[in-house]
């Protein structure tokens, strides 16, 4: 029973991962790509790791998978924020149909 629920979690994570990578290819701008891919790939990989935890139970590998989930949720937004700030400071232009740029106004 645990293995069936684990496979369901893994397939759900794969759907999120695949859609995030599709957004990485398809969207027109650095910021749009960052927005689409970082959040959904983080959630998808967390779901895959939770599926691994359901397979393994409370063994060493399962608890390491839970630790990995906490680590990813803490670090992935930090790195995405740093990348967006670096891209904006290095002078990457926004897409020409973008509506507003609050970070430029606040400077």
């Amino acid at each position: 029973m645990n293995e069936i629920i684990g496979i369901v979690f893994i397939i759900m994570g794969l759907v999120f991962d695949f859609l995030g990578c599709l957004g990485l290819v398809r969207l027109p701008d650095v910021y749009n790509r960052l927005q689409a891919s970082t959040k959904s790939v983080t959630l998808g990989t967390c779901s895959i790791l939770f599926g691994l935890f359901l397979f393994k139970g409370f063994t060493a590998a399962g608890i390491k998978a839970l630790l990995c989930i906490v680590f990813i949720i803490l670090t992935s937004p930090v790195s995405a924020h740093a990348l967006a700030r670096g891209a904006h400071k290095s002078g990457v232009k926004l897409w020409k149909k973008s509506v507003c740029d609050k970070y430029e106004e606040d400077k």
Binding site: I10, C21, L24, A61, V78, S79, A80, L83, G86
Partner: protein, 119 residues
């Protein structure tokens, strides 16, 4: 022209999914359930998108974003490989990879801002 490009992309993605689901893929390991093998190849197909963005990306920021995403995807590879082999050290490799990916992404972001690494 735009609709033609949409149609070509959709047909390509559906064809690759049909190959992954119906074609007898090489079994490198003793997979516990056959679904897990297809899951592994779907993740591999998602990773090729990241490689394509790394090769093509017009600005350096695109490549940095793609490298960041690839570092998180490798953790998913390690998690899926840990199930059929029954070896626990794959998840250790995943933890180490996530750590070095985070630090290298921060270093790349500092490089994009135009600062030195030791500021």
């Amino acid at each position: 022209m735009k609709r033609l490009r949409w149609l070509i992309g959709l047909v390509t993605i559906i064809a690759i999914f049909a190959i992954i689901i119906f074609y007898p893929l090489p079994s490198l390991l003793e997979w516990q359930s056959p679904l897990l093998k297809h899951c592994f190849f779907v993740l591999f197909f998602a990773a090729t998108f990241c490689f394509w963005r790394i090769l093509k990306g017009p600005t350096p920021a695109d490549r940095a974003v793609a490298i960041d995403i690839l570092g998180i995807l490798v953790l998913g590879f390690c998690a899926i490989l840990g199930i059929p082999t029954g070896r626990d050290w794959y998840i250790d490799i995943g933890i180490a990879w996530a750590l070095q990916s985070f630090i290298s992404t921060l270093a790349l972001a500092k490089y994009l801002e135009g600062r030195n690494f030791d500021e």
